[in-house]
């Protein structure tokens, strides 16, 4: 099994255990993807984690964009903006950085 | 009777036996195998009449093939059509006793040999020159075309070139096979070369891809009516799964309206 900073990940790079997550892991993952984590990235990551804590599930992209709109302003509350932060998709890449399991299904 | 005549007569019955038993086995197998789900393929027929129409288009016009590839269609269709015409043309030889008048009128069908050979050569050329088709071809695929070409050529030589066999002997031999009144082959060796591969084809029919002929009638994609919503379609093995009417899935609390 592959690891990142000592934490086990699956073949697609998602943490096997949510509890293994640390900010350093997010940092390391983003470096691998060639992304520099900005405060905006962290807003997204934090929201994903909060939501996950409550629902044991990642928020729908729509729910995420609305939450981000509230936090960062309406001009940033859209999926185009989120994709500019997370080119591989806010749900998939965002969840990976946040240590959450990969959303599956027709998404 | 000559040894070769005896051999060919024997070979014919062996082929016929393989053909009949092999094909019956396959037909029964196809018939018995259930089709548990409705899988008609577009353009699907919404009723039985539609299914008949579809088969008409597929069997007589090769409609799907026409959509797919005009060259293959042209070669394939001429070949098959010619084959049918030539079958009727050959009936006169096999007809035992008094031959009905209509069969004497099939004389001109002999020209079907040209589209036959045209189609076969075209199909062979595609197999040889189109890389995709070359890739999917097994030795048997070439062999089968070559055998058909051989049959066609020998037949044409006997008809259009100066290799006519003794027609009366041909007729006696051929109809003798049907009536079990065996008689000697005509002396011309070309006749043997013509019928021997035909008997081979008869024998391998139920063992080879020639099964596409009966197979097409059993393809659920073609023969099913697209009415799954209106009529419950259930195969035997699938219906057994319903013996336990109550499904043991957990219940949920549902709000009342």
């Amino acid at each position: 099994m592959a690891e990142i900073l000592g934490a086990e990940v699956d073949e697609e790079g998602y943490l096997l255990k949510v509890s293994d997550w640390t900010a350093d892991i997010a940092q390391a993952m983003s470096e691998e993807d060639g992304i520099e984590l900005s405060p905006e990235h962290w807003e997204v990551i934090n929201f994903l984690q909060e939501y996950y804590e409550e629902y044991e599930f990642a928020p729908a992209v729509r729910v995420l964009t609305k939450a981000i709109a509230k936090k960062l302003g309406n001009d940033k509350g859209n999926s185009r903006y989120l994709y500019s932060l997370f080119p591989y998709g806010p749900a998939k890449q965002g969840c990976r950085f946040a240590g959450l399991p990969k959303p599956t299904g027709c998404v | 009777m000559s040894l070769i005549s005896i051999f060919l007569i024997f070979f014919f019955y062996v082929s016929a036996l393989i053909f009949i038993s092999g094909l019956s086995y396959k037909l029964i197998q196809y018939r018995r195998t259930p089709a548990p789900l409705k899988i008609p393929i577009a353009p699907s027929a919404l009723d039985k009449k539609g299914v008949l129409l579809r088969y008409f288009r597929e069997i007589f016009l090769f409609a799907s093939l026409f959509k797919a590839n005009k060259w293959t269609w042209l070669f394939g269709w001429s070949f098959h059509l010619a084959l049918v015409l030539l079958f009727f043309r050959h009936l006169v030889y096999f007809w035992p006793g008094e031959v009905p008048l209509i069969l004497y009128k099939t004389e001109s069908l002999k020209y079907a040999a040209y589209p036959l050979i045209f189609g076969l050569l075209g199909l062979l050329a595609r197999r040889v020159f189109v890389d995709r088709i070359r890739y999917i071809s097994a030795p048997s695929d070439y062999l089968m075309l070559l055998v058909f070409i051989f049959i066609a050529l020998t037949g044409m030589m006997m008809t259009f070139a100066n290799y006519h066999p003794n027609i009366l002997m041909v007729k006696n031999f051929a109809s003798g096979l049907i009536t079990f009144k065996w008689s000697e082959l005509p002396g011309e060796i070309i006749f043997v070369f013509h019928i021997l591969p035909v008997f081979c084809i008869i024998a391998i029919f139920p063992l080879s891809k020639l099964l596409h002929a009966p197979g097409v009638f059993f393809a659920p994609t073609f023969n099913q009516v697209d009415n799954a919503r209106k009529k419950r379609h259930l195969s035997d093995w699938a219906s057994k799964k319903e013996d336990n009417l109550e499904i043991n899935l957990e219940s949920k609390n549902l709000k009342d309206k």
Binding site: F57 | K255, K257
Partner: protein, 512 residues
């Protein structure tokens, strides 16, 4: 349109010369022990796998007429060889439908036919060895079971049937695909492909209600688990989660609202998709269908309607009546128990498009079509809808109805080139369990024929919007469009177009 082009390129993508092994490889990620076991499959490749596989092949061909007949009746005419989008996009000859079938057929011939037992070389019969299994896994996961090849086969051979059978055999020997099987496990446990638990689902629906209220000022509801509703709506779970799917869901809600008919979603059956079809497993597929049956019974609904999901509609339309009795015209006790409850005046199940179309025909909906005037719309026929179902119970209804719904909501509609739509439609490239990141290379290449057709329509008619009625198509297109220099946001649900143009009667009253 240059007719010249049409003659030269009958499929619009030039048929490539074959490039052997260009897509060779080990295939997508394999399912873990845990994932496999959840579905009742062995977790790892079983010891005597060859024997188990051969036995399973024997069983499958004795249970499925399609498999038995198709294995025998291919005449190697080659008509299908240039019909598969994966072949056109990759040039790997094993992606030619007949060559894909031959992976299965060569083993069948070796073990089950006289010719293959005694003259294997002559007829291309092969042993089931490691290499063959590897090819099976790799290339049966490069087939989206789209059935385009079947439309052109003179024998009516449907490669998808072989592909499903092959996946079933592989699962039984313990070689399963991670993406599909993991999702099936989630449906089993939670009820949808996403694994979205009930609270998250309910919260999302509430969010959407708020959003509609903000946008329109009207209280459009997205009810869930409401007993005795008229309609049970089953949509693909991607509609609750992904973009642009979710706008389609909003569209359904608005249409239902305008119709005045009561409707509900179900948290127990919160998934229309049924990946059981992809792995050719009757029981898994049936289990999915039974969830819907149970929800329909428990909620005591009169009608069942399916949202925009391609293969879900095929399963619902063609298989549900068989699998779980959701339909009409049954004569057995089991199915009648449900069918007596359902209202037989309506087709059961029904597609959302059919529902909307009926309202449009009866002048029950008003549209402000100019809302969509910035769009030049084209429609992507999803394979499973186009080739495996019908709508409206009229000939070609599955092509007519969606287009009529679009035209009712939009002024500018243009079809893509003729041989890339309707029954000849090209797959989006992501169907049948291939919509996974580990197959992204294949997905991009497989989308090529569709992208070429789209480019043509873009250049000739200014098409800027691609409407679809399938969750997989929408996700796949959103992902691959940028690779072909298109805007990923040009993909919309058909019901998003409806949603954008529909006039809610209450908002009119409010204005007065």
């Amino acid at each position: 349109m240059s007719t010249d082009n049409q003659i030269k390129l009958p499929t619009y993508v030039e048929t490539p010369s074959i490039r052997k092994d260009s897509m060779a490889g080990d295939g997508p990620f394999k399912a873990s022990v845990e994932i496999q076991n959840k579905l009742g499959f062995p977790g790892e490749k079983v010891e005597n796998w060859q024997q188990v596989a051969i036995n399973k092949m024997a069983e499958t061909k004795s249970k499925y007429k399609s498999v038995q007949v198709f294995l025998d009746s291919c005449m190697k005419c080659g008509a299908c060889t240039d019909k598969c989008h994966y072949f056109l996009g990759t040039a790997d000859p094993k992606n030619m439908p007949v060559a894909r079938q031959d992976l299965f057929r060569s083993v069948y011939r070796r073990h089950f036919t006289f010719a293959g037992k005694y003259f294997p070389r002559l007829v291309g019969a092969k042993d089931f060895d490691e290499d063959m299994l590897n090819d099976w896994y790799n290339y049966f996961h490069q087939c989206s079971q789209c059935r385009r090849c079947a439309v052109f086969c003179p024998s009516g051979i449907d490669t998808a049937e072989i592909s499903m059978a092959a996946r079933e055999v592989m699962n039984v020997i313990g070689v399963g695909q991670k993406y599909t099987n993991q999702i099936l496990g989630k449906v089993k446990k939670i009820g949808n492909n996403l694994g979205m638990p009930e609270p998250a689902l309910k919260d999302t629906l509430m969010d959407l209600e708020e959003e509609i209220k903000e946008d329109t000022g009207v209280d459009v509801k997205l009810p869930i688990d409401i007993k005795n509703s008229e309609i049970l709506m089953v949509s693909p779970s991607a509609d609750f989660f992904a973009e642009p799917h979710i706008d389609g869901l909003i569209g359904y809600a608005k249409v239902f609202h305008e119709s005045g008919v009561s409707w509900t979603l179900s948290s127990y059956a919160s998934e229309a998709a049924n990946f059981g079809m992809f792995i050719g497993n009757y029981d898994v597929m049936r289990e999915g269908a039974l969830r819907i049956r149970k929800a329909a019974l428990d909620l005591n609904v009169k009608r069942v309607i399916i949202g925009e999901c391609g293969h879900a509609w095929r399963v619902a339309y063609s298989f549900w009546n068989t699998l779980s009795g959701i339909g009409t015209g049954a004569e057995d006790e089991y199915a009648m128990r449900l069918q007596n409850q359902l209202d037989s005046q309506y087709p059961q199940p029904q597609h959302m498009i059919e529902f909307t179309y009926d309202l449009i025909k009866n002048n029950k909906l008003t549209f402000e079509k100019s809302n969509n005037d910035h769009r030049v719309v084209t429609f992507h026929d999803s394979c499973n809808v186009a080739r495996g179902s019908n709508m409206g119970d009229i000939e070609n209804g599955q092509f007519i109805l969606p287009r009529e719904v679009i035209k009712a909501a939009c002024n500018n509609f243009i079809d893509m080139p003729k041989n890339t739509i309707k029954s000849s439609t090209f797959c989006c490239g992501g169907g049948a369990g291939l919509l996974t990141d580990d197959l992204i290379d294949l997905r991009i290449k497989g989308a090529k024929p569709r992208m070429h057709a789209l480019r043509k329509s873009e250049q000739e008619s200014g098409v800027n919007t691609l409407a679809a009625i399938c969750a997989i198509c929408k996700s796949q297109f959103s992902k691959v469009l940028p690779n072909y220099d298109f805007d990923p946001y040009m993909v919309v649900s058909v019901h998003q177009l409806v949603s954008d143009a529909i006039v809610l009667s209450e908002s009119l009253k409010q204005k007065d």
